[in-house]
Subunit: 339 residues, 2 copies
């Protein structure tokens, strides 16, 4: 079984985006009382939004199941206030829940958190619990920078985040560390802010003892771990200079990388440098890069091809990458399968 651990609902019916536009427009009106309202999206519209996109690509590429969450760019936690973010997150998560109910063989849910700049992450717990307990979701996406490119919250290792981590541990759900849109003109979203977010989070984990406090807490760092595997020597060396334990001991029971790296040499490096136990297959389709690579004739984000092409990774290790590790990182996925 091949599981793609990183897919976003980038193709949702247009009513979702229209609702969001109305919500943002209403922020300008100080006398407007925000309300969640409803989307008016039919099951058929959901089916249509997936059949020609994620489902078609799953079939074509031979990936069977996608761990599916709301559009990352859409989270935009920097917009409005906590209520804005809560209403929007609830709608987005409910859409994922409907997708998973319509296609239980193809999708399993991961939620967006209703984060908001300066608001304690503990306030996300009710929505996390709802998604996990009522909807059967198996993880969450955690934005290390709800300010959208200005990085104003404390680092992920700060006690600011601890109440959320306690709940994650209790519920046995991991978080994918995933920034959202950048409103800082310096950072292109998918080309800089995403990758920087990944690199930043990993380095935060090196400098602190978060995983002593939470030995079972687990994070997936997407986009192949940002710059980290390419600079693995740098990170090993920095940890060593800082008298930190070796990376393996320090964080490799807690931190995992996905395979959203869109060319063969990048995937080769990832699989060479990072232990197979710490890699989860992913493509992020339909996502950041949609085109066909003229050098290969296939989509850049058809990451399964790159892994298939590698003949120096054992079958057992590839099985870990394609599905085994998912059961370890997402314990609720394992339980769901046994149920």
């Amino acid at each position: 079984m091949i599981i793609d651990c990183h897919g976003h609902y980038t193709t949702a019916p247009k009513q979702l985006e229209e609702w969001r536009k109305r919500q943002i427009a209403e922020l300008e009106n100080p006398r407007h009382a925000p309300s969640k309202g409803s989307l008016g999206i039919t099951d058929d519209e959901i089916r249509a939004s997936l059949e020609g996109a994620q489902l078609k690509l799953q079939r074509e590429r031979g990936t069977e199941l996608t761990i599916f969450s709301p559009r990352a760019m859409g989270m935009s936690h920097h917009i409005g206030n906590e209520t804005t973010s809560r209403h929007w997150s609830e709608h987005c998560n409910e859409m994922i829940h409907r997708v998973c109910a319509l296609y239980p063989e193809n999708f399993v849910g991961v939620c967006q958190l209703p984060q908001s700049p300066g608001v304690p992450p503990a306030n996300c717990i009710p929505e996390l619990e709802r998604c996990v307990k009522e909807f059967g979701f198996i993880g969450c996406n955690l934005n290390p920078d709800p300010s959208g490119g200005y990085w104003k919250e404390p680092p992920l290792t700060d006690k600011w985040w601890y109440p959320l981590y306690e709940k994650m541990v209790e519920l046995e759900v991991p978080a994918m560390v995933h920034v959202s849109a950048s409103c800082n003109p310096n950072f292109h979203g998918t080309g800089a802010h995403y990758i920087n977010g990944d690199t930043t989070a990993f380095m935060q984990f090196i400098t602190a003892d978060l995983f002593k406090d939470f030995p079972t807490l687990k994070f997936i760092i997407p986009h192949g771990g940002g710059a980290v595997p390419y600079h693995w020597g740098r990170y090993r060396g920095l940890a060593q200079d800082m008298k930190r334990p070796p990376l393996k001991e320090l964080l490799m029971n807690n931190v995992f990388f996905d395979t959203c790296v869109y060319h063969q040499p990048g995937i080769d490096l990832l699989l060479k440098v990072i232990p197979a136990d710490n890699i989860l297959f992913a493509s992020e389709m339909v996502g950041a890069v949609k085109g066909v690579d003229p050098e290969t004739g296939f989509n850049y984000d058809d990451t399964k091809r790159y892994i298939d092409k590698i003949d120096w990774v054992s079958r057992a290790d590839k099985e870990k990458i394609f599905h085994g590790n998912v059961e370890k990182v997402y314990p609720r996925f394992a339980k769901r399968n046994k149920a």
Copy 2:
């Protein structure tokens, strides 16, 4: 001849840092009139600061000449105001000038710019001219984020920077895009902010027509280009999705990567993915990572070893990487050699 294009004077005599500490302390005193003063460093102290460090390592590793600039972390443009930055930059650059005068065979100078948050980069022109015309420096370090981790200036492609670029073109000097210390607790300096700065700058260059406006402007992106070579497929794909020209055409006459990547698989990837014409040898010694890699028994930053070990890159290409490209990217270096 083997040229290391990326070395900082991290071992300067203690008076330099003491001067800086006094300067920063005086910022607290509103009645103090800032003055440049002097350092009181002797030539012997300069020699002593280098003999056991950069010069020793040059000899041991077989690199002959280092393109040398003030300590990057020390630039800290976010501290104080424009005058603070000007006095400090002048001292730092004068130290480099003295190093190059004492060891003309071993070092050639690159200057720190007296940038300051919110101050037009045009104001750096006098110091750039002084360093190039009076000291014989061949390039500059340009900080894309003088705010030190809050990224408040316009992107490098903005017209805000154009007067400085005009002067760089006129003087025929390239810039290494190099951030300085981070005062944002989210970003570890050498482990996150440096690498993010590299990735960010490259993506800025993709999205704009800077090199149509300045066809001969040249930038070196250090630390192996941040995350860029590892995600080369992503960047090719993003440019393609945005209907930008292919990267080769868009920026490969203007953007170059150094080899400050501290493990064999990273260097392998860099040399596989990026054309040899766009790679400049560098180690950043004595710099970010000082230890010995227990996996190899050699210093992480002994990057020449990694390149030497590669047998699938032609001798001609290695010669470009080790020195040929320097003459192309730093025209004043070529002229100096012919003089």
